[in-house]
Subunit: 348 residues, 2 copies
DNA sequence: CGCTAAGGTGTAAGCGCTTACATTCCCTCC
DNA sequence: GGAGGGAATGTAAGCGCTTACACCTTAGCG
């Protein structure tokens, strides 16, 4: 089924059919109706490849995320999709699993598809490619960290601020031995959260002892990290996790060992994915507004929208502390007895 | 950057460049090297649209799922992607949120992109369109239910069998008042699970009392359904949920009301998503082998692979009961006394 | 040494669409 | 009634690629 078939059937030229399909002005209603009828009758589906090739605006957005299994990324994707869809775009997504080579190949695929714009919602190092990339199409970077670039729009969440709020909250509750559970701590933006944790904790040093561990992103990773932490001998009264998913894993390990949360140990997450409300105990976390991020991404990528976000500019979205049931004052015993094994003061 | 540029740079014709890029035989190694160097130098990315248009095999698979926010579907997607990727294909996915019109538009988009094959992993009614669809490209249907079609490959999980095993297991534990929590119970395959629950329960009638409720798919829906169930006055000692995600929501509601699981009420899920292991208590569920499903989908869609799954054929994958901590014998009181306003046992 | 047969490489015809430009049509107005 | 002017429609040139086919080497053989 091609445009030509439709044109013949409707007894018009391909140009007219094309006009109807792209609802361009200047087609007599009668003609338009005839064409639409032909389309219907022939069950015609435009060939998107041909359309893209011929230079019609592609109306497809590309998005690359680090870990689509993490609901945080998934939420962003869904928000972007919802907004884009509403403006007549669809979005194709690809996943890197934090692997840099997959990022590169993902970018190439997107480029090859000639997407109208590309959102890079990844934590891993963005190859130099991105520099030249921005010359070819609108690009927006979420969480680009150190790789923030001159000529692309940058969105980032104030992770430092959020983590600071979490640590201060824990400190205010009376916690003096804290740990941080992260993943891929070498990657820019993830590194930042760990740094934020450490530097805020340091403000309270030497009063507050810290320790950090890392594992793979995900619930299993969180569980593993908590296991390592506990086996290290360090006995934190509060554990801050780099994201909610890992916190859920951490919770699991604590439960398995009969350590009560928040009775014995407080746990915090980050992101405020919907799961955070559903685990037991419900997670204290920092909300990262995915809907807003999604909207910003679309604004930056779709020309029609009055973009607030010019290339080269950076928008910082704020996080918000959400207190639920996984945090509480440390047990009296823990508060008074400083415990010697707290030797391993964190990273650095 | 076009093929032409590369050709000029390498001082060959576009045909030769194309041959190199598709590693077709019959290019002198020296020439090949020169072309590759030019590609490198110019940082050339082939235009996938043009390639698809020109009739090269598309090497892109399409997949449509009902609810990508449900890890079950996401897992299938990831498995399909992994296998496809390994065979040089990439896959684009789109999401219907159980809406039939979005299914139709998704199919059109996929068709428009001229994907090499299309996997329909949806619960909603598949429009007649599918009939003609299969004439155009390889199509595989997962869970097509009643809409199983003659000319497409069908994969389905033995939900009935899995549900039967769950109900029998619960019955064997001594449960005599059971409920079922579902969603979209009008949709074929989802309807099937509810029916399976009811018919198995009926075998034990009138000894076993049942009740079913439904809400939206997802944790919030599960919570809502459980709330409705409890407020209805019916006091089941066991609740079977249509999937793990809803079970997690149900768990939450029980916890909020201080009803202990499995002490007061047993809960089961379905699918065995990874979250099922991480919630407290860990969910008893039925494992649906997503990896196998993913492999079957790829086999059906990618011609190279020695497809076990010819069009028109149906493959049934088996489920397996996974017993964890959310099920137990009903409390003695519940077994003898028909009504139990379960005392607060709650957390921990 | 000339002929043939491959193997390498180039040429050019599309693939299905969009769009600038040309053409036709139908009114309007003098 | 004919000229002028929009509005409606048609024509055709690509978009970047693949591929059948033509062409030109080169090597092998008699």
């Amino acid at each position: 089924m091609t445009l030509d078939d439709v044109a013949k059937h409707a007894r018009v030229s391909t140009a007219t059919v094309s006009r109807v399909l792209n609802d361009a002005p200047g087609v007599r209603p009668a003609t338009r109706a005839r064409v639409l009828r032909a389309v219907e009758a022939l069950n015609y589906t435009p060939n998107l490849n041909a359309r893209a090739l011929a230079g019609g605006s592609p109306r497809t957005l590309g998005m690359i995320v680090s870990n689509i299994a993490n609901p945080f990324f998934l939420d962003i994707f869904r928000c972007v999709e919802a907004v884009a869809r509403q403006r007549g775009y669809d979005v194709i997504v690809t996943n890197t699993d934090y692997a840099q080579d997959r990022l590169a190949s993902g970018i190439n695929t997107m480029l090859g598809r000639r997407v109208a714009g590309l959102a890079l919602v990844v934590s891993e190092t963005v190859p130099d490619m991105v520099g030249t990339l921005a010359a070819q199409l609108p690009v927006v970077l979420y969480d680009g960290g150190a790789h923030r670039l001159q000529n692309v729009a940058n969105i980032r969440a104030n992770y430092r601020g959020g983590m600071k709020r979490i640590v201060e909250y824990l400190h205010a509750l009376g916690h003096r031995r804290m740990a941080f559970i992260g993943h891929h701590t070498s990657l820019g933006p993830l590194h930042e959260r760990r740094e934020a944790f450490l530097s805020v904790a340091e403000e309270y040093a030497p009063q507050v002892k810290v320790r950090t561990v890392a594992s793979a992103d995900g619930m299993a990773g969180g569980q593993m990290a908590m296991r390592q932490l506990l086996e290290s001998g360090f006995r934190p009264t509060a554990v801050a996790c780099v994201n909610d998913l890992m916190a859920v894993g951490a919770l699991r390990e604590l439960h398995a060992r009969g350590i009560s949360v928040p009775g014995d140990v407080s746990v915090t997450g980050f992101d405020n994915i919907s799961l955070a409300e559903f685990v037991t105990p419900a997670l204290t976390t920092a909300d990262v507004p995915r809907a807003e991020i999604g909207r910003l991404i679309c604004d930056a990528l779709i020309p029609e929208s009055g973009s607030v976000l010019a290339p080269g500019r950076e928008v910082v979205v704020e996080t918000q502390l959400i207190v639920r049931d996984s945090t509480a004052r440390p047990a009296a015993a823990a508060r008074s007895v400083p415990v010697a094994s707290a030797g391993a003061a964190g990273g650095r």
